[in-house]
Symmetry: C2
Subunit: 323 residues, 2 copies
Amino acid sequence: MEKPESAVAERAAEPMFKRVALIGIGLIGSSISHAARRAGLAGDIVGSAPPPEMRARAEELGLVSKAYADPVEAAKGADLVVLCTPVGAFQEIAQAIGPHLEPGSILTDVGSVKAAAIQDIAPHVPAGVHFIAGHPIAGTEQSGPDAGFAELFDGRWCILTPGEGADPSALAKLSEFWRKLGSNVEIMTPEHHDMVLAITSHVPHLIAYNIVNTASHLERVTDSEVIKFSAAGFRDFTRIAASDPIMWRDVFLNNKDAVLEMLGRFAEDLTTLQRAIRFGDGETLERLFTQARATRRGIIQAGQDTAQPDFGRRPARAKDGAQ
Amino acid sequence: MEKPESAVAERAAEPMFKRVALIGIGLIGSSISHAARRAGLAGDIVGSAPPPEMRARAEELGLVSKAYADPVEAAKGADLVVLCTPVGAFQEIAQAIGPHLEPGSILTDVGSVKAAAIQDIAPHVPAGVHFIAGHPIAGTEQSGPDAGFAELFDGRWCILTPGEGADPSALAKLSEFWRKLGSNVEIMTPEHHDMVLAITSHVPHLIAYNIVNTASHLERVTDSEVIKFSAAGFRDFTRIAASDPIMWRDVFLNNKDAVLEMLGRFAEDLTTLQRAIRFGDGETLERLFTQARATRRGIIQAGQDTAQPDFGRRPARAKDGAQ
């Protein structure tokens, strides 16, 4: 198992990227930093964020060697630039950093919508810079530089949506980067990505936000009752609805068509259930409820969730302390 | 810390109930058994279930000393009878066991709807037997005798909905039983219970079932894509939608009015969000998303969920192995 010292030194001296610039250091940016360090993928990691306290915290946590106020300063000299801000900020940032990107460098993003992101970024990318849009399908309901952890991407999928003329070696290198962060990688068109994510992510979040607000505005059920008795199902929706409001505002503004289409189908299907309830049609209810179980089994078999009941959420009194 | 042997023997000889009969030994029935044994509340625990394999398993797991096919056999001689079947079975069971209930015994249930449950049970309860309906607000998406565990009720709430003429000492005793199982206890009317649970439980489950089925019937997004990319929010809905279809069919058939009212409000609110998306109204989206966060904070402060991101759901590669 021993290696000559020179080989170790050589490996350490040649990480995949010399300088990685994280534009935005929230949940995803900070998790990329942790995971890239775990795998030794970056010689140096720098970042940028507008709020001074976020920059201070990112440096304090060692997420970046230097956090700049101006994304241009972070992007300069980087051979990998990752946009990790809400999607709504992409256009302005791309316009600012575009002229300063290194020839041969890779520019990517982690935005939850892809067609609109590409539309906002691509026009500002100079020739010789490889822009390949991406979206890691991983996250928690928390945000900010403290929220990140190295394992966030492990076993999850990262979708890349390269344009038709994308450089194959840049695509291969970015794919390898995501694999080394822990992800599986899938390639698809931006339009297909936006359709898939509308149903697996955007509409579920919208529905979760919606029911939490519906519950808060009832006259005959108090907020305190909603909270006390939330263990019956509602609390899972509130977790999803705890996600960053700005990020989600931008998602819905930028994936309008796919979200409205999926929402239409959701509403149609809900009408079927509503009618079955109104007319006491137990057979239809049972049939539709039973169908839903099959999808759940698929998700557990695919390793995208565990079968552990209730995810081990136990109150403090529980013996196993699993919390 | 030493106690005289006689005191220990006396305590062991006088549990709260001599014979507890669990009519139905699924997730809730088996958890009551575990929690009652943990607290030493029952001299003997017996049960009944129609499927022979469920009875065999319940005895094998030590959940009951004896599992009967006929609920009458289980209820005979019991000073506490707990109906733990789906709500749809209550009427037939109450009719069967009613004439055999012990004078002075307590009859209760754990059904997720209360007005309909009381309507089905109460007429069959003979004078001298104390019927007090109840509903522990706790559960997981799993079912069957293997699914139960002693900590299920710890820190959760159990709602009791006694009728106007309910015996105060029977109510006090049943409340104490639930407290010793680990729950907090709240008293309310059956109608109010059904309204509260419609929003905290029934409508969330209906929505979860619905979106899982919507996702399964898309032409342009494959089932495999829905599953692979489920970590983006969808998987949380599938967990809720993995709950027992028969139990949930019965809930919706028996709490029609409250569910339809809450569903109407949910749909109205969803229309507001839909319009905001259609017209690009980012201000409305951000405002409504921000409001939802406050409810989440309330639930964590009330101890009904933990703030741990993603509930520690990490894939197998994660270092901490929390799974």
